[in-house]
């Protein structure tokens, strides 16, 4: 009742071993690619680390790096094993390791799949982190004299120029915060005092944006101040003007950028997972067929290979009972309410004769 039984001749086994050897080496390469992708993602996330609040998005690149390294190691070992499996003499060396190796590969393949799914789920965590982070950064834009925040202005300016975006959701976010430091405001001027008094918190709010929001493609020189005032600029209509400033919000722009990276990385991880799955299946077949050959005794004979010896339910039951008994190994069997000091005669049916058999005398000679 084996699951997916396949008959293997000697040549088929050898071919399987060779194919697996090649597949293992390809998987080492994909493991290395995974490792480098994880490192790349980590570097990219750290570059914009100041703009993300304290959300745990680092777990994705860390998992990818770990998975990549483990994939390299496991498949390197697998390649070595498969290379040796062609020769029955060398196979005996690896016989003991093969079953645990197959089990490890099975769990590892599962981890790879989890890694792939994590790539796609990072999207929501990242959005939250960026939302909070950008709001903070914009609030501290003016604090170029506060240690620890003095580079936020530069970071935000360069971000807006590079990603062609403005503000968190749009350029109007700049209208709601004070982005000009008090050091550069002439408090003796009436206009400044009026603005400061015009809101509850005493902030100098204006309908203007920093220069980094300016759109390169605009046919006219950039209008940064008094954006909502149509009469302040000649031939200007605020509602229809689209080319003056960048229209995208930076959260949207950054999210798109990272999602694009994550999708490519996720695709690569899925391909790696498929490779690992095929390697796992091949190794399992190879292991079972070689074990059967050894059981039969003749290394050149045909043997059967399978995925599971009995059906899925029975294998699960046997494994569970093995695990249960492992725990019971050190325990005395007091489960049937028996006093361990009482001698209970053996109920075995096999009768091997009396214990006091006289020795045979050699009467000859």
């Amino acid at each position: 009742m084996a699951v997916l039984k396949v008959k293997f001749t000697k040549t088929k086994r050898d071919k399987l071993a060779q194919v697996l050897w090649i597949l293992n080496w390809i998987s080492v390469v994909t493991g290395a690619i995974l490792f480098s992708l994880g490192t790349f993602l980590k570097v990219e996330l750290n570059k914009r680390g100041e703009l993300m609040s304290e959300r745990d998005v680092q777990y994705v690149p860390n998992t990818l790096i770990a998975v990549g390294l483990i994939a390299c190691a496991i498949n390197f070992l697998g390649g070595k094993i498969c290379y040796d499996c062609v020769d029955t003499a060398k196979f005996l060396r690896w016989k003991v390791v093969l079953l645990p190796y197959t089990a490890c590969t099975f769990f590892f393949t599962f981890c790879v799949l989890v890694g792939a799914l994590m790539c796609y789920s990072m999207h929501w965590e990242l959005e939250e982190a960026l939302n909070l982070g950008l709001t903070q950064a914009m609030r501290f834009y003016k604090d170029t004299d506060t240690p620890g925040r003095c580079f936020l202005k530069r970071t935000l300016d360069i971000l807006q120029i590079e990603f062609q975006c403005c503000g968190n959701n749009g350029y109007r976010d700049w209208f709601q915060i004070q982005w000009i430091s008090n050091r550069y405001l002439d408090m003796s001027k009436k206009e400044v005092i009026d603005r400061l008094r015009s809101n509850v918190e005493g902030k100098y709010l204006m309908d203007g944006v920093p220069f980094s929001c300016c759109n390169l493609n605009s046919p006219r020189p950039c209008i940064q101040q008094q954006i909502t005032n149509n009469s302040a600029h000649y031939n200007y209509e605020h509602q229809t003007e689209e080319l003056n400033l960048w229209m995208t919000g930076c959260r949207q722009a950054l999210l798109e950028y990272y999602t694009h990276i994550m999708q490519s990385v996720g695709l690569t991880v899925l391909i790696t997972w498929l490779f690992e799955l095929s390697v796992l299946t091949g190794v399992r077949y190879l292991q079972t067929s070689l074990e059967n050959v050894l059981r039969q005794g003749d290394p050149n004979s045909d043997s059967d290979g399978w995925l599971l010896e009995t059906s899925l339910m029975e294998t699960a039951r046997t494994n569970l009972s093995i695990i249960k008994n492992l725990g019971k190994n050190n325990q005395i069997d007091a489960g049937h309410n028996r006093d361990p000091n009482v001698d209970v005669p053996s109920t075995s049916k096999a009768h091997y004769g009396p214990d006091n058999v006289p020795p045979k005398h050699n009467t000859e000679g």
């Binding site: 050091r183 046919p219 020189p221």
Partner: protein, 363 residues
């Protein structure tokens, strides 16, 4: 009296052929490297094509591309010659080609040297070209509605932001040009009228710069207008303010960038020249050694390899004599034709006089 004579036994000849085969494949990769270098340099120059007035500087990447391709072909031929050199039946067919090969290889080395020299020598021309190109770009910055010039604004803005520079020599270049188009000027306003009347050409000049000159590293929000007026902005002093705008001129920034590119490729090109020279010399030794061995009774014996059969002076005199003979051969032919033509002319004249002499007796 051969130049740099060396003795080669059979084993050394084989080793030389093998070593040269490896060296020539290395030279092929170097040729590919030079080609890629040329392509990269050309694309970088083409990207900023709009701010350069002439394309004289393009001669450097063009030569690199040509030399790269030629070097790949030449060194591939060298590897084929090495493979055939151990086979006495196949080697003679390369004999004629080898002379041309030496000429081509020497020419490639000279061209590469010329490239290194040119990349330093053309710096002045590059600066001139950039000066004129940038001046035009700044002048046409406002003409975003004129076909053919509508992208100047975007080009200059992008350039200033990418290279962190402002204007041609510095930011004051923007004070001398009208960079705000008349379409966006309110001519009913008194301020505009005053400014336009204040200079001879009726241009709207102001002491302001475009936003792309702004330095993100400045601690204060960018000041673009009324730059020379210290009173127009709070806590601002025009003379001592350094971080507000980019301090460098774009001409300087671009020249530095391109010179840096070409200088960093200098060592690479020099090492490629060395490799090519060593291939050339080794090929000469291999050719003379194998030819010497083939001329012997026992081809497996020791033969001599040299660079030149006679000394430098004698070889030069030989070559000169050969060239002169070639020239004389060409010159003698027309002289011969003239002489034979004159002889023919004389013969026909004689024939005519004979005819004339014979005709009167007939009449």
């Amino acid at each position: 009296m051969a130049l740099l004579k060396m003795k080669f036994n059979q084993q050394r000849r084989v080793r030389l052929a093998q070593g040269l085969w490896l060296l020539s494949w290395l030279a092929v990769t170097c040729g590919a490297f030079i080609f890629c270098l040329g392509v990269y340099l050309k694309t970088e120059l083409l990207r900023r094509d709009e701010v350069m007035e002439n394309t004289e500087i393009h001669v450097v990447p063009n030569i690199l591309i040509m030399v790269g391709l030629a070097s790949i072909g030449t060194n591939w031929i060298a590897s084929r010659v090495c493979q055939d050199s151990m086979d006495a039946s196949r080697f003679p067919r390369w004999k004629v080609l080898l002379l041309a090969w030496f000429v081509v290889a020497a020419l490639l080395c000279c061209l590469l040297l010329a490239v290194v020299v040119l990349s330093y020598a053309l710096q002045g021309r590059l600066e001139e070209s950039l000066k004129v190109g940038l001046r035009n770009g700044i002048r046409f910055y406002k003409d975003t509605d004129v076909p053919g010039r509508c992208f100047q604004k975007e080009t200059i803005d992008r350039l200033q932001m990418e290279f962190r520079c402002c204007g041609n020599n510095n930011f004051k270049d923007w004070f001398e040009v009208q960079w705000v188009s008349n379409r966006y000027l309110d001519f009913t306003s008194q301020e505009v009228k005053d400014r336009v009347r204040s200079n001879v050409d009726n241009r709207y000049l102001l002491d302001g710069v475009p936003f792309s000159c702004c330095n993100p590293a400045s601690p204060r929000p960018c000041l673009q207008y009324h730059l020379t007026d210290s009173r127009a902005h709070y806590n601002y002093e025009y003379q001592s303010e350094e971080l507000n705008l980019y301090g460098r001129g774009c001409r300087q920034a671009l020249t530095d960038y391109y010179m840096g590119l070409m200088n960093s490729t200098g060592p690479g090109v020099l090492s490629v020249i060395l490799i090519q020279m060593s291939v050339l010399l080794s090929m000469r030794y291999l050719q003379t050694a194998v030819e010497g061995a083939m001329a012997l009774e026992n081809p497996e014996e020791e033969s001599e390899g040299y660079l030149l059969e006679k000394g430098v002076k004698e070889t030069y005199q030989d070559v000169r004599a050969k060239v002169l003979n070639l020239v004389k051969f060409v010159q003698v032919d027309p002289a011969d034709e003239g002489a034979s033509g004159a002889a023919e002319g004389e013969k026909t004249a004689d024939a005519n006089t004979e005819k004339a002499a014979t005709s009167p007796p007939a009449s």
